[in-house]
């Protein structure tokens, strides 16, 4: 209730700020403009807005529509459900597998994430630093790293299973897939939950304690319920990501296949597009449903933390005094972080080892070979990532500005469309682009543009969110005074909004760069075979069993991303320093 009142007031003052001052040049609503000529500035302003909205529709909505249309098409302009019937009868087992794996992965992953988040939030000092550093590395790691380490550690010739324990077993099955998926979704969910925990009201925790609640009761009655919506979001995100994950089943599923891995196989073979589209609809619909549920849950979570005092230090909760649950949380977290250490140790080492009759020795051969064969790929990946980072950040800033501060007609619709890719399965986004852009007048398949656009729009939701969050920090008064002094909409954008988004620029850039370097998702289907990217090579290497090279590529990607992020922080930090002095 309070909240609603506040919003109305804010809206009113927003309207006031934008339209309420009649003597300004670009200050009236388009419909209300009387006589006066359109200034160049306000024309440009409109043009930018139209460009943004047009691009979002073209690169998000249209590809989705193409999948739907194609899945219903009978090839001669009519409509039929034949493709669906065929998928239902032939791939029912895959569908069932997908749901099975999705549910179990989501559950396992959420248990891990919740435990890890609570564990980290209650630590301080070097333990916390070390855990956060590990999470950071996992965040900048390419996909398939877990599967790669899994095969090397626990595979048929695995370091642990075969060399250490001497067992020979077949790791390629559905349990491997579930295990790997849950491990690789943990970092993102953990960061999400840590964010929610840091917004937990210290007052509530203190009050519970004050009223006689022991740590275990605080955990059960306050901490976990307040994390509730976040935990549901974690379940939901993991489920959808598991549904759309084709990499893990393809690499370690063996004969076990899901609907996503089946789509992958269909797509790389460029076979029946109607069928692939229909199969994709089975992923797309749950993803869209999950997306709306996700938005609802996030709003709930925000509501729970609304008005709470944010906590500076750690969560004051002694896990060792929380009984079995506390011990469980600590144990699960420690297990997880140990596995991560093992995983990355394995990845970083594997590239530099060669095995002769079971004896390992150090070698630089793979390293040299990698640079001889793939230097161009690495450079291309970095260049693409830089382009997407710059263009994507600019796009996100402008988009966030128009969405947050201006009364764009259909605002919530466009906002929703632009956020949709967050949940879209890679196969959907990939086949959508292939269908939408493989004929005139928009023939983009095989070009770099389609790859760049795909990356940009896949990352737009998070980038926009970063910018919006930062934009809410910019006081309206600042904007208002710029208008008051005679600046048009464009001047406000140039002189007030963009400069104050500087901190957001950095986070946005860094996010875009690391995602562009590491997401495989839809890119795998769009890349021109002559112009490969690093993640593509990585996938290839894992798929063909060239684990040493794969480990090297993964290590190089991680190092490059960390280096560029470090550099970006250094530059802005130096820049900031110069500004002050």
């Amino acid at each position: 209730m309070n909240n609603r009142g506040h919003n109305t007031q804010e809206r009113a003052s927003l309207r006031d700020a934008l339209f309420g001052v009649p003597h300004l040049s670009g200050g009236r609503r388009p419909g209300e403009r009387k006589g006066g000529a359109l200034t160049a500035g306000s024309l440009l302003d409109k043009a930018i807005l139209l460009l943004l909205l047009g691009a979002v529709c073209l690169f998000v909505l249209w590809p989705m529509a193409c999948i739907l249309l194609r899945s219903l098409g009978d090839g001669e302009g009519g409509f039929t459900l034949a493709a669906y019937a065929q998928v239902w009868s032939r791939y029912r087992e895959n569908l069932w597998n997908s749901v099975f794996v999705g549910v179990l992965s989501a559950l396992a992953c959420t248990v891990f994430s919740t435990a890890a988040a609570i564990f980290i939030a209650t630590r301080r000092g070097w333990v916390k630093m070390a855990c956060m550093a590990l999470l950071l590395i996992t965040m900048v790691s390419p996909p398939f790293v877990s599967s790669l380490a899994y095969i090397q550690l626990y595979g048929r010739r695995g370091w642990i299973t075969y060399r250490l324990l001497g067992i020979s077993w077949d790791p390629y099955n559905c349990w491997g897939v579930i295990w790997m998926q849950s491990i690789s979704f943990v970092p993102l969910n953990t960061l999400l939950l840590i964010g929610i925990l840091s917004k937990l009201d210290t007052g509530s925790l203190q009050a519970a304690r004050d009223l006689g609640a022991r740590p275990a009761a605080i955990l059960r009655d306050v901490v976990l319920p307040l994390m509730g919506p976040g935990i549901l979001v974690s379940l939901l995100l993991s489920f959808v990501r598991s549904l759309s994950d084709y990499g893990t089943p393809v690499i370690i599923g063996g004969r076990f296949s899901t609907i996503a891995s089946e789509i992958y196989l269909q797509l790389v073979g460029y076979s029946d597009l109607e069928k692939s589209s229909a199969m994709n609809m089975f992923l797309l619909l749950p993803a869209i449903a999950a997306f709306f549920l996700y938005r609802y849950l996030m709003r709930r979570s925000d509501k729970l933390s609304e008005g709470s005092r944010s906590r500076q230090g750690r969560l004051e909760l002694s896990l060792s005094r929380c009984g079995p649950v506390g011990i469980g949380i600590a144990a699960v977290s420690i297990l997880f972080f140990l596995m991560m250490v093992l995983q990355y140790g394995c990845i970083f080492l594997a590239g530099f080892l060669k095995s002769t009759k079971g004896v390992y020795s150090f070698t630089l051969r793979n390293w040299e070979e990698l640079w001889r064969l793939d230097a161009a790929t690495m450079v291309r990946s970095v260049v693409y990532a830089l382009i997407v980072s710059l263009a994507g950040t600019l796009f996100a800033m402008l988009f966030a500005y128009y969405m947050e501060r201006r009364r764009v007609p259909g605002r919530s619709f466009f906002d929703c469309v632009a956020t949709l890719p967050y949940m879209l399965p890679g196969t959907c986004f990939g086949i959508g682009y292939i269908l939408a852009f493989n004929h005139e007048p928009l023939k983009l398949t095989g070009t770099a543009v389609i790859v760049l656009a795909n990356m940009l729009f896949k990352q737009l939701p998070t980038a926009t969110k970063i910018c919006s969050a930062s934009l809410t920090q910019v006081p309206l008064a600042l904007e208002r005074s710029a208008r008051d002094l005679g600046g048009g909409q464009l001047a406000v954008l140039r002189d007030v909004i963009l400069p104050s988004l500087r901190p957001a620029f950095l986070s946005c850039f860094v996010y875009n760069f690391s995602s562009s370097m590491t997401t495989a998702g839809a890119i795998i289907f769009l890349i021109n075979p002559g112009k490969k990217l690093a993640v593509f090579k990585l996938f290839d290497a894992v798929y063909t069993g060239d684990y040493a090279v794969a480990s090297l590529i993964a290590s190089v990607i991680i190092v490059i991303v960390l280096a560029v992020e470090g550099l970006a922080y250094l530059i802005t930090w130096k820049g900031g320093e110069r500004n002050v002095s």
Binding site: M1, N2, N3, D201, T202, G203, S204, L205, Q206, A207, A208, R209, D210, L211, G212, A213, R214, A217, D221, V222, P225, L226, G228, K303, L304, S305, E306, G307, S308, R309
Partner: protein, 261 residues
Amino acid sequence: MYLELSHLKKSFGEKTVVEDLTLSLPQGELLCILGSSGCGKTTTLNMIGGFLAPDSGQILVDGEDITAIPPERRPVTTVFQSYGLFPHMTVLQNVVYGLKFQRIRRAEAREKGLRYLEMVGLADYAGAYIHEISGGQQQRVALARALIVEPKLCLLDEPFSNLDAALRVKMRQELKSLQRELGMTMVFVTHDQEEALILADRMAIMEQGRVLQYDAPLHIYHNPVSPFVADFLGLKDLEWRQDGALLKIIRRDDKEEHHAG
């Protein structure tokens, strides 16, 4: 005495925040700690509540040394400045939360909760969620939640600072009558002189971690120990009703009049 603080001391690093604090309070009375911002009031309350361990000194409640007892087992509850209500629970659930740890049957707890809600005038809001009620109502929920466990001592840290002036005056009266009715021993922290004068049975003036004067409010008013205390109180005249309750305060500098019961 019912509550005895003796030689409490607390420092954060180099900085001494509370220095040699000694106070005592009889049962059923309300102690006001009055001091400017940053003088160590919250730190003192946190030590009594158990959220901070004093560097030295003792805290006794009803003859029992509670200095080393953790907050969940102290016979002390706190109404926090930010209330600390549980946003995922209803008003009634918030209020009865503390009873959960007293092995009281659910139905009984509910009944008692409704009684306390009635007492603070919120009987109609039992099923509402915290974000659905106003600031003043949240304040009362926090109060009811702290009182329902029948603590030996209730601490209040600037409980009215988030309320507007009119509501503050109203809540003040309600708190005072509730305290009298229940015979509850309370420690109330504020930086508002008027609030302290009206509420307190005993008043401690605090500055930079020390207690400058500790006495009945009227006594302090008539015999300030130092020019600082006199200046800090900054009052010109008090008007009394026949029954001895304070009616009105006239400030020295502004001519504004404040009514109180």
